[in-house]
Symmetry: C2
Subunit: 169 residues, 2 copies
């Protein structure tokens, strides 16, 4: 299965309307998203959300789970996976990219949208944003009658340190 949409009642894609959302705490946002779907605000979900917000770097589901448990939270890996899905649907989490080892995430709260420069050697991820970039995309979409919802640009290469260390063949 894939792409699930929130059974909304009147809520446009969370990340598309930032004004109202940015005023609430992420906890309130989650609570609201859950209530809208008649789901429950459990201790496990709170723990995962807190960890996600505290992690100011990209992470995958396993790492997050390990981190949580290391801090004493009693959350199974299955619940981590299930909660990540909920957070994504609540617009609090974004999947940055997938590779052989699975999905990589970052939290969204308080962050502007941005693109990624991914180092193939050390895995470091740099970020940048550009309004012009968005314009170009919108233009391309418009020309094709395509309605964009979200996008991601990934540039793979070598970061400064790794580049210096890499001998080209």
């Amino acid at each position: 299965m894939a792409e699930r949409s929130l059974p909304r009642t009147a809520a446009p894609a969370p990340h598309l309307r930032a004004e109202k959302g940015e005023r609430q705490t992420p906890e309130a946002i989650l609570r609201q998203a859950l209530k809208r779907r008649r789901l429950k605000y459990t201790a496990e979900r709170q723990a995962v959300l807190r960890e996600v917000l505290d992690t100011h770097a990209h992470f995958d589901a396993r790492q997050l789970g390990r981190l949580l448990r290391k801090r004493g939270a009693r959350v199974s890996q299955a619940t981590v996976y299930r909660t990540l899905t909920v957070l994504r649907e609540a617009g609090l989490l974004r999947e940055v990219f997938r590779d052989a080892q699975g999905s990589h995430f970052e939290h969204v709260y308080g962050h502007e949208h941005h693109e990624h420069l991914i180092c193939l050697r050390c895995g470091k991820v740099l970020e940048f944003q550009s309004a012009r970039l968005e314009e170009i995309q919108d233009e391309a979409c418009r020309a094709r009658g395509f309605r964009p919802l979200r996008h991601q640009l990934q540039v793979f290469g070598y970061c400064e340190e790794c580049d210096a260390r890499t001998i080209d063949d």
Copy 2:
């Protein structure tokens, strides 16, 4: 598995032979890439290459395998996977994106680099290219000392037909 650099991006890939490469047939390119690594030009690899080139759409490893076998080629799925890796390393194939169902590819031969507009409803993939887009990226990379090798921009949304059919919330 090792991330390999593909011949694609602003400057022609420096290490992978660039100059005379563009004039050769894809078969010759593969043959050469294999020889360089002391690998063999087998009937199975030829069959996979032919199928990859004949497929003018995005595909995944399973589909390609099924297609090959349907045409009578005696190629196991394991070999399809192994060969796709070889073709990618030879610069004849590109991984477009990954989702829950795995990797999606497209052949590179004779195609300009381009970005993708992916319909979340019907799965259709539209393409576009933009020199300005590349400039912006290069600029961002330069500013961070990042050496870009390849990139991909994916815009997710709804294509014209699906958009018309979609009742918005």
